[in-house]
């Protein structure tokens, strides 16, 4: 029997389409914002110009991040297209190099993502803003361009899978570990077309940054979006940022769920995703493969909280002579915070390399691309074959503390091992 209650995602699509809808309906909905980056923006712009209408400027957010500062002439040509478009139409929300960063971080940090908002982004990790109670969906560039002109798009209202993390997490378990554990349970297509809703003490106990890491990787389970009910922590985060007024939103207690998973927080431990698939997860304690590179950055784990954790592990230690540590803050704001908190200096003294924000190496673009046979432990979200470089290179995914610890020992290791071995 179907209940009358609605999940959060059903509520948002009902409101934005003006119809009373449940999972399975196809709707045309009004978007709050549409975001594109330097990879997806060019096709959005081409599509937009074919419509022959005025752009819905206040809804459009343009964030070059993948290949900026430009890595070569071809990428410069692409991001120039975004910049020219922004200037031609006097776009209010264009984030130039030095004032932006990785698109999703900017969308949250600059207050675009708010509870109950419907946001489309031409990037698969747009689902991240679910951490703040927004319904945010990854789409393609062409349809983003159509939204530039219409403010509207078609969507299928997804079913919701609920993950209830019961009990408190161990202090060594980070948001990254929780989501990797969940992906390993349901598989890379276990959440296909769904909204993943995370609840329970385990989630409430996490800070907003860890929640963003979890919502971010809903994409790696094939999900359409993520949702976490906003609370006091969300409110504090949004306080100085949100661009629109917002109110608390949650699923009804009698909403219909596709599936509910009850997870005992005490079963979760720090893990590593083995090369090839985010779902191929092992406890950190069982992996000690040697590594050439350790990478901390991206929309998944490149926030100030992540860099603080890495710095905590690196303090007074040295990066292993055979290993390179690359730390890329996910936005200009994060970079500035890392400088003012002395973290950049600390990492540099440990022998790590710190750069300004870019997607860069996360997608095998530049600034840390892997050579043949090289192995990298990374705080990013994808470890598909060849993701960060040569087709014969390997990527292991882990939380930033584990990445930092591994950089010190030159092999995959937990922070605890570092404290025991390197006194």
């Amino acid at each position: 029997m179907k209940n009358n209650g609605k999940t959060a995602v059903e509520k948002v699509f009902s409101e934005k389409s003006g119809e009373d809808v449940y999972a399975g309906s196809i709707v045309e909905a009004e978007l709050d914002y549409v975001m594109v980056n330097d990879i997806t923006g060019p096709s959005a712009i081409d599509a937009f110009y074919q419509l022959d209408v005025e752009p819905k400027k206040e809804k459009i957010v343009l964030i070059p991040d993948h290949f900026v500062p430009s890595k070569d002439i071809a990428s410069a040509t692409q991001s120039k297209k975004l910049r020219d478009f922004a200037w031609k139409h006097e776009m209010p929300n264009y984030f130039e190099v030095g004032r932006g960063g990785v698109c999703h971080q900017v969308m949250m940090e600059k207050g675009f993502a708010t509870p109950g908002a419907l946001i489309a982004g031409a990037d698969s990790h747009t689902c991240t803003y679910g951490a703040l109670g927004a319904i945010s969906v990854g789409i393609g560039g062409t349809e983003a361009g159509v939204i530039f002109g219409t403010g509207r798009m078609w969507f299928k209202v997804p079913e919701t899978m609920m993950f209830r993390i019961n009990g408190e997490l161990d202090s060594s378990v980070e948001g990254k570990d929780v989501i990797l554990n969940l992906i390993s349970r349901i598989g890379v297509e276990g959440g296909r077309y769904k909204c993943l809703e995370f609840r329970g003490e385990g989630v409430e106990g996490l800070g907003v940054s860890d929640r963003m890491t979890m919502a971010n990787m809903a994409s790696e389970a094939g999900a359409k979006c993520a949702f976490m009910a906003p609370d006091k922590k969300t409110e504090d985060y949004l306080n100085s940022r949100s661009r629109k007024t917002w109110s608390f939103i949650d699923s009804d207690s009698d909403a219909n769920y596709d599936r509910i998973f009850d997870i005992d927080a005490s079963e979760l431990e720090p893990v590593v995703s083995m090369p090839g698939s985010p779902a191929d997860v092992k406890p950190v304690s069982e992996v000690n493969d040697e590594i050439d590179q350790a990478y901390i950055g991206s929309c998944t784990n490149g926030r100030i909280e992540d860099i603080r954790r890495a710095a905590q592990v690196l303090k007074g230690k040295k990066v292993h002579p055979r290993t390179r540590l690359i730390v890329v803050p996910s936005s200009q704001q994060v970079f500035e915070d890392a400088v003012s908190e002395g973290l950049v200096k600390l990492i540099a003294e440990a022998g790590g390399y710190v750069s300004g924000p870019t997607c860069g190496a996360c997608l095998g673009g530049y600034m840390g691309v892997l050579g043949p046979g090289e192995r990298c432990i990374s705080s990013t979200n994808r470890n598909f074959l060849g993701r960060m470089g040569d087709k014969d290179s390997k990527v292991y995914l882990a939380n930033p503390s584990v990445v930092a610890a591994s950089s010190i020992l030159g092999r995959i290791a937990s922070p605890r091992e570092v404290y025991e071995i390197v006194k």
């Binding site: 074919q50 040509t77 990037d123 990854g138 393609g140 062409t142 361009g145 095998g364």
Partner: protein, 166 residues
């Protein structure tokens, strides 16, 4: 003729499960959106000969979760650039599915147990596929998606005023 009523015939190339967009078109080639340029690198990491072998009008038959990974439309454009007429998979990753519908690449979910090289006959209107030694069925597009597919792309669909202005 409307695409959703079409009869499509073509030779098949088989791919496996979880073919991700980094395999379809590696990120280093995302510095262009030109389908012809992209097509030269289709599946180059795992199937280096494929791009050269595929012919116009051929059909891709893949396993589960085809097109998972990034939102890059380049994946669809690469496939279109190769001249592929249709992609059949046991299931599709959601953004890839959206991009295909929105860019006018027909995609259908079906399980096909025929070896590489088999010629399939696909009846888009009836939702049936047959070949020399077997047949299969698939779910036709719901009316809303059918309209987008028939208009050729989401751009045409929007131009026809079907995305209502508030």
């Amino acid at each position: 003729m409307k695409l959703s009523n079409d009869l499509i015939s073509g030779k098949i190339w088989r791919l496996g499960d979880n073919v991700d967009t980094d395999q379809i078109i590696p990120a280093k080639y995302l510095v262009t959106s030109d389908p012809d340029k992209l097509a030269m690198h289709f599946m180059e990491n795992t199937h280096p000969e494929l791009a050269k072998s595929i012919g116009k009008g051929d059909i891709i038959v893949a396993g589960r979760n085809f097109g998972c990974g990034s939102s890059r439309e380049h994946a669809v454009k690469t496939i279109q650039g190769c001249g592929i007429r249709l992609v059949i998979a046991e299931s599709f990753a959601r953004i890839f599915f959206r991009n295909s519908i929105n860019l006018g690449l027909p995609v259908i979910e079906a399980k096909i147990e025929a070896p590489e090289g088999t010629v399939l006959n696909v009846d888009m209107e009836k939702g049936r596929i047959h070949w020399d030694s077997g047949e299969s069925e698939f779910q036709k597009y719901p009316p809303f998606l059918k309209k987008i597919v028939d208009s050729g792309s989401i751009i045409n669909y929007a131009k026809e005023g079907l995305i209502r202005q508030k």
